[in-house]
Amino acid sequence: MPASPAIKVERLVKVYKQFPAVDGVSFSIAPGSITGLLGGNGAGKTTTIATIMGLITPTSGRVTVLGAEMPRERYRVLHRMNFESPYVEMPMRLTIRQNLTVFGMLYGVAGLADRIEQLGAALDLTDLLDRPTGKLSAGQKTRVSLAKSLINSPELLLLDEPTASLDPDTADWVRARLQRYCRDHHATVLLASHNMAEVERMCERVIIMKQGRIEDDDTPARLLARYGRRTLEEVFLDVARRRDEEREAAL
């Protein structure tokens, strides 16, 4: 019997005033998989992820996460998931260790002191643990946010542009650690990104969104083959421009 999906989104609609930010989106994500959510600005990626996290109530449709309907049953599963997003930050005046202590307690992490040391070592933060978060570089802050998102060893990880402010070397290093974490913990990841190379490298499946809808959904290899392109970036541009051309043709 196939395992039930880690995330199931059914006919999700989110309308702000008259504007549909997400317009009838449906997809399922298998446990232990890494899925990329691609789309330009205003495509509906962040709204979709926020709805999956239970931060937004859908206008209609249904979102189920680890078997719990969101946002109604969110407290059944929030301790089993975590996220990282540029829309939120860690308190600046607290040291990394203090921040991780607070979030570890919120998530009910056992053996918290050891877990913090472990994450410090894994994310190369050991020497910085007692430094205020506000005094770190952008790259170091991103690693702290990642440490927070891994504090409870989540089964489901939602990542919104996790390497956006990192130099290529650090970004590559972070990706490698994320992949290792997913492999070791059989964790499910939904990754929203503008970085096509990142998605191509990390994800076994790509969902492309545009104007609140899913434009395409397949493995990177099949998308490349179907569009006859060499990179996902070229595929993304094809998808992004297709509807514009259709609109122009209709006019």
């Binding site: 989110k14 702000y16 930010a21 962040t46 709204t47 926020a50 996290m53 239970g54 931060l55 937004i56 109530t57 946002p71 109604r72 049953e73 969110r74 407290y75 059944r76 929030l78 301790h79 975590n82 996220f83 997003s85 829309y87 939120v88 930050e89 860690m90 308190p91 600046m92 005046r93 607290l94 040291t95 203090q98 202590t101 607070v102 979030f103 307690m105 919120l106 998530y107 009910g108 205020p132 927070k148």
Partner: protein, 273 residues
Amino acid sequence: MNARTQSAVAFSPRRIAAMILRYWYLLRSSWPRLVELIYWPTVQMITWGFLQLYVMQNGGLFARAAGTFIGAVLLWDILFRGQLGFSISFLEEMWSRNIGNLMMSPLRPFEFVTALMVMSVVRLLIGAVPVTLLAIVFFGFNLYGLGLALVAFFINLMLTSWAVGIFVSGLVLRNGLGAENFAWSIMFLFMPLTCVYYPVTTLPVWLQPAAWVLPPTYVFEGMRALLIEHTFRPELMLYALALNAVFFAGGLFGFLRLLQSARRHGSLMQTGE
């Protein structure tokens, strides 16, 4: 009780402790925050203390009211600083853009509110205790001389301050930092109507019913009865407690509805202005 209500009211002392620890770390890391807690209450107390000295020296009619000015200002500070302590701790999450992290964590709204209530008491004590001691040194006014009545006054004022703080936090969650000014100013709406410095009978007759629906009015009347007539009026405290129960329930209800509305409108992801 349905599943949703159950989960919203489930309590974890560890999560509450985590939030208290978070605010304690913050206070400890910032001496301007600590100084601010003491600075304004001291300035207020000294200003009103000298005014009281002047009135006592020059107005025989007012001499009987000895102590009411400083008493009023200290009790007003409990009400005002209690609400501010609650609201500022909440605003710290908005200013640091941490609210999304908390809302996405297993922290329940009731646990969050409880931690904010505890912190409002902690912040108030850090500011108020030195100021009450200074009032003894400078003006010979011993607030602790009110005895058990002070406990009744304190509980009632804190309950009102929490009720207002909870509601204002809901407004900020729903409307973003554009609603921050309510946190600083809303309590001043109470000032004229709760009759901090004068008896309720001073108000026009048509306005007096409005004063009597506010719990702090009973506290300030009770304080004057104690200081001027040397009579403790427990019935005033009971009325205040009953009204506070209504205010507190209203504040919580408003907060939960505004949180629900924030989820509907996507405000939890956009906490700016």
